[in-house]
Symmetry: C2
Subunit: 233 residues, 2 copies
DNA sequence: GCTAAGATTTCGGTGTGCCGAAAACTGGTC
DNA sequence: GACCAGTTTTCGGCACACCGAAATCTTAGC
């Protein structure tokens, strides 16, 4: 019961892997995410299983038990509340909060966390649009589609941006794309061109949107397409 | 460079021991304060010495080097700022902050700590009256005498109360004694009576103060006499 | 100065989480 | 159905901070 925080990290990563895609995580991916050797992960996963937090088919994937999921959601709640708090109260930018939250999520007491939750007015999502699990472990996934899968000509509002890469976050912010930004999907430019979006829900008329780019259109890279979720405004 | 926090705890305790009394700390006292076996302390102290944080005369006392003192003051600054912050921002009571601060002092980044410092208006003392070291390691000790050593009939203002024992803090608060409380020292009642103080700087006249107790006088225990510092109001 | 009580250090050992190398297993290919 | 590449597990080992027991040192009392 001493260095609990290692267990918390494993569980959090295992859970996170399935949050936006269905496949359960394999030991090698887990090792890569944690920055550890595969052999270390095998050992630790055995301990997680012994504690009833995970199940592990030999030579196969790692899955959380109900108890493990509960712990993961507690940690996710902590992480996302802390990120939100840093942005709201201490003027952190959304690309700067992750590392600090990574440490603090293991250190704050439940009491302090609840006080912070109240101070923030019980927010339901963090600065990247990720849902903050409720105290009872409830989590409501925001509806939305990956920008890559959005249909041409459609408009939508940004509801989530993956926090995986801080540099992408800074780039997008510089381009004017943050949470709740309205945008219109122009689509892929012909002859292998980039993927274009226009800021604003009503920018340009349908004809120009179907016809081509204007100087105001943004050419987003593949990484952005895989990171931005939009939903009907 | 991983579990730095153990080193930080040792250094903090070593420093704290000399903050309000001159004697350097011995390994056994250090072990008691940390709740560890003496043998563990011997080992760790050797490592502190190897890192240039402490000097250790064999079979004798442990002292901090300039570098060790610097680290201790950084930790003390963290601890006391966090305590102040918990009280001011999150409605903790002064007897509840210690354990939370004990954990957080190892987890907050310098950046966040500075932001908190600013939010609090760069306070110079914590909720118990302990001075908060400045960013550059400067610390200004509040002037004052231990209540035990205060002369009879004198009046003063409470400038510090040791945070060693939360129960004492709660008791004193219930009796009406907190930081900046003015009080008059009546003195020790005759025939082995308790040590009496009166709330307020002007309560009663000199005669009654010299003569004896009134119902409003407080009879403080020995622990309180060793824990409360007063200075001219 | 001697001794004994008490403090301190030394010594062997523990648990945790990590590693690299080697062995064992998987799934796909021919 | 045998092989092979890649993954996973096993194995021996390491660093860290801790422990109790035994050895060593200090110091107070006489």
């Amino acid at each position: 019961m001493k260095t609990q925080s290692v267990v918390e990290d494993y569980v959090k990563v295992i859970y996170s892997h399935t949050e936006w895609q269905p496949e359960p995580i394999t030991p090698s991916v887990l090792a890569a995410r944690l920055g550890l050797a595969a052999s270390s992960v095998t050992e630790m996963v055995k301990k997680l299983a012994a504690q009833g937090l995970a199940t592990h088919v030999k030579y196969g994937a790692v899955t959380l038990t109900a108890q493990g999921t509960e712990l993961a959601l507690r940690m996710l709640r902590r992480h996302r509340l802390i990120e939100t708090w840093l942005v709201e109260q201490y003027a952190y930018r959304w690309d700067e909060v992750h590392d600090e939250a990574e440490v603090l999520e293991h250190a704050l007491s439940d009491r302090l966390l609840d006080a912070i939750d109240e101070q923030l007015g019980f927010p339901s999502r963090d600065p990247h649009g990720d849902p903050i699990p409720a105290r009872d472990g409830t989590i409501t996934r925001p509806v939305g589609v990956l920008l890559r899968d959005a249909s041409e000509g459609s408009t939508g509002r940004v509801v989530r941006i993956s926090d995986r890469d801080p540099l992408l976050l800074r780039h997008l912010e510089a381009e004017g794309i943050t949470l709740d930004t309205d945008l219109t999907v122009i689509g892929r430019a012909p002859f292998g061109g980039g993927f274009l979006v226009r800021l604003g829900a009503h920018a340009g008329d349908a004809t120009s949107a179907a016809t081509g780019a204007t100087p105001a259109d943004l050419d987003l890279g593949d990484q952005a397409l895989e990171s931005i979720w939009i939903a009907a405004a």
